[in-house]
């Protein structure tokens, strides 16, 4: 108990200090040091959530999905704690708890809402003992940090199979990796309840097999033969193995008849044979999965999904998820890029059907949080999605890597502007509406830049 209090007080002091000194958002440091004093902190906090914890994990979409759920919780006056500032490791959860607890370590919340990165998930899931887990997708991510997809999957299977309490696992049934995972886990641990969700049909059923842009390979995770698939987004969709028994399971909740436009998506959500229309103000087909994941969770938890469908219309994107920022009459649309699938999907969305952009900015950093290995940019179908009249501005610690990537996609060298320093970008823009694609630490730098010019609040205060 003394240890726990010492840890909490230490964390709270750091939190106060960061606020006074305005150094960072206090989303990692308080938890980091508190955990050094008491490594059991997470357990003692999360078990205080009266109605239990929910964990959101996956390669892409964690932040958007958990924010959709937290948006609903807030609007419904449900009390909850959420590691919402994007620190999705153990220290982020500890920080969120320390910040909402009193000085005796008591928290009063109904739910804990935790977004966890792929590696943190397998380490923490038993400590948190969630009642529900949402698995979004499992793509290739930063290989230097997470290793290969198969490695991550094996860790998930082990962690989920050994969970001591029966848990509801809500998963994306369009992801062959997750369907395979669900089969393995349910064989090992039949106590769990599996709730699949999937997208049934839309207007984007294109198959993308381009030898020079193998964005995500679709091989059967069970037997390694080729899957036949009606793809919705890279590597996800209605699939069936030609060789073994693996196929997309039938699902209770799904989306059909959707259509994507520049500002968002509309469609029908079908669940328990009821059909409801929705309008999601988030562009990009991949956001349908985040939306559907949140919806499936809420429905499974007997929440008011009609309320959710009505408030989702006013949802605002999270930090650097196609966020609009206006600076000196120029509108920037900031998108975070971190892996081939996410980058490709963002390109598709931004340059959807001959958009009016005539220039675009790409910022590639190679700090630890971005992934030190930048080779993944070569697995993105640049030439396929960026129209060739676009003037390209590149920056970041790996600006020349990005410049060559563009050059080898057919952009004329003389049309590629390289800005070694970030602030040079803003002297080089010539149009009024420009998309920016930036890796994580580059997004933070941009955020600082925008803050200094007074156009945007600190993201951790949003």
């Amino acid at each position: 108990m003394i240890r726990k209090l010492a840890a909490i007080w230490c964390g709270k002091c750091i939190l106060l200090l960061t606020k006074i000194l305005q150094q960072g958002g206090g989303t990692a440091a308080p938890g980091l040091y508190a955990l050094k004093i008491d490594s059991q902190l997470i357990e003692s906090f999360t078990r205080q959530c009266k109605k239990g914890s929910i964990i959101i994990t996956g390669t892409n979409g964690k932040t958007t999905t958990s924010r959709l759920i937290s948006h609903y919780f807030s609007q419904s006056n449900i009390s909850f704690i959420h590691n919402r500032a994007g620190s999705n490791l153990e220290r982020g959860i500890a920080s969120a708890c320390i910040s909402s607890s009193d000085w005796l370590g008591k928290i009063s919340a109904d739910y804990g809402l935790w977004e966890l990165d792929e590696a943190a998930f397998s380490k923490l899931v038993e400590k948190i003992k969630p009642t529900k887990i949402v698995l979004l997708n499992l793509f290739r991510d930063q290989l230097d940090r997470y290793g290969e997809v198969d490695t991550t999957k094996i860790k998930w299977v082990t962690a989920l199979s050994h969970l001591s309490l029966p848990t509801t696992i809500i998963f994306n049934a369009d992801d062959p990796q997750l369907v395979h995972l669900a089969e393995l886990v349910s064989n090992n641990n039949p106590k769990h309840i599996f709730v699949p969700f999937s997208i049934n049909s839309g207007n984007e059923n294109s198959s993308e097999n381009d030898v020079l842009s193998p964005v995500e390979t679709v091989l059967c995770p069970q037997c390694k033969h080729k899957l036949s698939m009606n793809q919705i987004i890279a590597g996800l969709g209605a699939f069936r193995c030609q060789n073994c028994s693996l196929k997309r399971p039938s699902t209770n909740s799904g989306i059909s008849n959707y259509s994507v436009n520049e500002s968002g998506t509309t469609g029908e959500i079908v669940s328990s044979s009821l059909k409801k229309t929705f309008s999601l103000p988030l562009p990009g087909a991949f956001n349908l999965y985040n939306f559907l994941a949140a919806y499936t969770y809420l429905e499974n938890s007997k929440q008011n999904v009609d309320l959710f469908l009505s408030i989702v219309k006013e949802y605002k994107p999270a930090f650097a998820r196609m966020e609009h920022i206006v600076l000196n009459k120029t509108e920037f649309i900031l998108t975070l890029i971190k892996n081939p699938t996410g980058f490709t999907e963002s390109l598709k969305t931004i340059f959807y059907k001959n958009s009016n952009y005539s220039e675009a900015i790409f910022i590639l950093n190679d700090n630890y949080a971005d992934g030190k290995d930048v080779s993944w940019i070569w697995d993105v179908a640049i030439a396929k999605y960026i129209p060739h009249h676009i003037r390209i501005i590149v920056s970041g610690t790996r600006c020349y890597d990005m410049a060559i990537r563009m050059k080898y996609s057919g952009f004329n060298e003389s049309e590629i502007v390289v800005c070694e320093n970030l602030h040079e970008i803003f002297n080089n823009v010539t149009t009024q509406k420009i998309p920016i694609f930036a890796t994580y630490t580059a997004s933070l730098e941009l955020q600082n830049y925008f803050e200094k010019t007074g156009v945007k609040n600190k993201y951790w205060n949003e």
């Binding site: 290989l143 198969d150 030898v211 020079l212 290995d373 060559i404 990537r405 080898y408």
Partner: protein, 265 residues
């Protein structure tokens, strides 16, 4: 020149997760700039292959599980590929592809994955994950050969840069094939194994390396060397290459050299 080069992309749907595709993009781009046409032939499970069809083999890195499948299938192509390499066909193999062009890959707890023994190397699973940027000095012989391929030789760095991410430890089999040499020697990073003594392997015109990045975009001199050799193999005569404007490429190259060799001084 109105020549056609055929690139054989080995198992593209299995061995493609480390961004190695950039190498194909680069070879294709630089060949087209020289007035060549390029055909990319995917060689995968079930593909028939005759000796002499392929001018440049390319084989990238894949996930461990997929490598098991590939090692079983590639055995049937071993004769053809080895024959082609003996005749001077070019090969660039990276990471997992490099390992399968060696004698075997020995995992901790499963049976060996047999390679096709183009290179006299063997790889053992290890518990050190070698993940970082990597800068190597090329083998002297390679560097002097590269200096002979251009009509007008530009300033060519002696380094190659890339990013390695492997736990397999590769070593030369001492007695076999005296014709095999290392691709280079690490200035920064690990290379073949944790001793940091050598990186990659070079035999005839076949190369194995741990460098992702992708490798060729940031190492245009090496890319041109592969093209030069492929063209020589295809046409049976040497033809010097016009240098291209590689300002961006060499800036990307030297940024890495500067950053990481400064670290070790």
């Amino acid at each position: 020149m109105n020549n056609k080069l055929t690139i054989g992309y080995l198992y593209p749907e299995y061995m493609n997760i480390y961004g190695d595709t950039g190498n194909i993009v680069t070879l294709q781009y630089r060949a087209i700039k020289r007035g060549l046409t390029v055909e990319i032939k995917q060689i995968t499970a079930g593909t028939n292959l005759q000796p002499g069809e392929i001018d440049i083999y390319f084989f990238g890195g894949g996930q461990d599980q997929q490598q098991v499948f590939v090692s079983e299938d590639i055995a049937r192509l071993s004769r053809t590929i080895n024959k082609d390499i003996a005749n001077g066909s070019v090969a660039l193999t990276i990471c997992g592809g490099y390992q399968l062009f060696g004698e075997f890959y020995r995992p901790f707890d499963q049976k060996d994955l047999n390679g096709i023994t183009v290179f006299p190397v063997q790889t053992h699973a290890g518990d050190v994950r070698m993940i970082d940027n990597c800068v190597i000095t090329m083998h002297d012989d390679l560097y002097s050969e590269i200096n002979e391929i251009y009509t007008k030789t530009p300033q060519i760095p002696k380094t190659l840069v890339g990013f390695e991410n492997h736990s397999g430890q590769t070593s030369f089999i001492e007695t076999a094939f005296s014709t095999a040499r290392p691709l280079g020697f690490p200035l920064y990073g690990y290379g073949n194994n944790p001793t940091k003594e050598t990186e990659g392997c070079w035999r005839n015109n076949a190369f194995g390396t741990y460098l992702h990045g992708s490798l060729l975009p940031k190492n245009p001199h090496f890319a041109d060397y592969l093209l030069y050799k492929a063209l020589e193999y295809r046409t049976q005569k040497a033809a010097l290459l016009e240098p291209l404007d590689d300002e961006l490429e060499y800036k990307a190259h030297s940024a890495i050299v500067k950053k990481y060799t400064n670290l070790i001084k």
